[in-house]
Amino acid sequence: MFLFTLKDEPEVCVEVENLIPERLKGMKVGDVRKLKVKLGKYEVEVGELFEVRKNSGEEVVFEGLWLERVKRIGFGMSSGYIVVKGNAGMYAGAFMKGGRLVIEGNADRFAGMNMSGGELLIKGDAGDYLGSGYRGDDGMRGGKIVVHGNTGDEAGIKMKGGEIIVKGNAGMFFGGMMRDGIVRARSARRAGANMKGGTIVLEEVREEEILPGFSYAGKDEFEEKIYHVFEGDKAVKKSKGKLLVRNLIGED
């Protein structure tokens, strides 16, 4: 649909929640250049910061340098397709309701925050708070996040639904305070602290990383593989959370 390239490194981060497919649909390049984006506390026109070009495909593309200084790509989008050919700044795919957002590099913190639908694919690493809630808010409610690399701390915090799949390792408090939904990673530390419901699936965890609030409930089959099942977090009343671990690595 459109192709955005930053003309120069912006002095402060740019916030581009206006540049989502449903809003850009059917617009002319000249009108897109006149849309407003936020630069710090000011509003400026897209054309001042970005080179805007039309492309033949249906997708909105961000490419070129300094994209890690572009925040809120795909913020609140409900349909369409966005591709980021590089690293995305904070809040990529936050409040997403539908559609598809692909980040070919890394994503900064709070990617997929408060997401309620759609699909977010991060081909590099994700920062902290992947699929979490904004400060003070409840977490992700639906949709799917896939990360090919690793993710930082507190991914899936306060999650209420949806799915997060991390192919690499997750940081601390993976799926903390979860209510529902499913999060998966190769390994994680202190997973599921204060979880009330939902499922955490890990491939490999050191025994001492299982929090004391979890009790062992034997082995069970999950997707045709045998997993150790832990239930918890018992620190929360009426908790029904499940922590599945394929390989438990002992201390010796």
């Binding site: 936020k38 506390k41 000011y42 509003e43 809630g133 904004y134 400060r135 003070g136 808010d137």
Partner: protein
Amino acid sequence: MKLVLKNGIVFDPLNGINGEKMDIFIDNGRIVNKFRFKTKAKVIDLNGKVVMPGGFDIHTHIAGGKENIGRIMRPEDSLRNLVPRRGKLRAGSGRSVLSVHITGYEYAKMGYTTALAPATPPLMARHTHHELNEIPILDKAVFPLFDGNWFIMDRIADKDHDAIRNYVAWLLYATKGYAVKVVNPGGTEAWGWRKEIHSLDDEVPEFGVTPREILTALISAVEELKLPHSVHLHCNNLGEPGNFETTIETIKITEKFERGDRPLLHLTHLQFHCYAGDSWKNFESGVEEVAKAVKGHDITVDTGNLMFGDTTTMTADGPMEYHLQLLTGRKWANKDVELETAPGITPIFYSSKSPVNAVQWAIGLEIPLLLPAEKVMITTDHPNGAPFTKYPEIIAMLMSQKYREEMLSKVHKAASARTMLGSIDREYDLYEIAMVTRANQAKTAGFTDKGHLGEGAIADIAVYDLPPEPDTRDYESIIKAFSRAYLTIKRGEIVVQEGEVVNPVAGVTRYLDISYDRWIEKDVSVYFRDYYSVSVQNYVIGVDEMRRCESVPVHS
């Protein structure tokens, strides 16, 4: 600046002007008689647009300690409304807990020019004044809280009436306050001792006084001091099913007093105090009984309308907020203010699918529809019932029966079954709307130079792009007109044009110029020595701390 507004259709209830085509002459921030107006001036032809006095909000929590806690505990609320800097306008954020500058802009866009901050713990008054200093455009005033005050409760137990009256005067002087606000009298202090107060005759532990005694003492102190505004009361048992009986009992307290030249009591956010039934299951409207009592007594009320959506509740009624967060399971903060009060804050989502919320919404509309327009004022108890930005929708609901019917068909059926809202066909006209959104408020608050367009009044004017008799079935255009004022004029300056703020002038804070007998300082100093964490020297607020202020003389 001299300004003439030509050919406007004027609605000015305090001067009895109902939709007359008139010209308004403004000189030096005041409205003047045209015959004294000879020099050249800027002329604006309004071409039949509706002209009203500037909007006046008598009860809105826009500044103070608990508002700030609300901002701190709700970053997610800020995220949902981010306003960037534009020209002379400052940046800001917030939907239910707005930052200071945005508060002024949003009010001005709706044609409002005055807003009173109705509940400030005296110890937090300095903070409140500093915030009010920063709110642009609006004129403001502060009501300090007197409900759980140790000094007053001790003096009531001693039956030392002189000391109470003198202390009220001293505290208004010390906090640069404007009126006496009472919240859940005695209830918050009792809760601090793990006791609950459910009726007017329950005793506050350790003090041995009852809400009835506190209220009687404060009303008589306010009447003797001849304050411009009566006691501003948030009754006991807020938000509890069956509380309408407490409300009626409270209204009856005024029977003991002789009528002065203004009403004896103002009951605020009445919607939260009109509940019948004895549990949330058989919860229903008790407006009819309360409305009878209100009509029969010398009091005024504001509605405290509830609108669906997400908001933040904050009140100096600590126990009520505690019970509310037990129901919702959401985050909660309580702020104990030493010897004075203990406000609580918790976010809430009012759902149209919830029978309780639907009935609460309907009750908020029943009150203005069942009472004469002279007695009611529209508020949302911002942000408790809804953010103040919902006023245009409430105005449209009062004006349009079609809008109410459409809403009733969308919300939970309890709203039709347990209230009378569906059977009321009254529709407000613009004259009555002008009463309930500005004239009554200014009159009740004792702002004699506001809320009307007579000669000598402050030139606070709102112009709306509406026909004088709007089609009530087209409620969308009513909402649009009231949310984006065509013109807002503040003390003779144009501040809003076609719904956009163009000139963020500064507002003025009003306080009472009140005298007290010096001996009270000695009595009060005992409390500062023994209990307070601050000294009395640091407690009293000087006029120099208020950026722009006006004093209102009190002749007691």
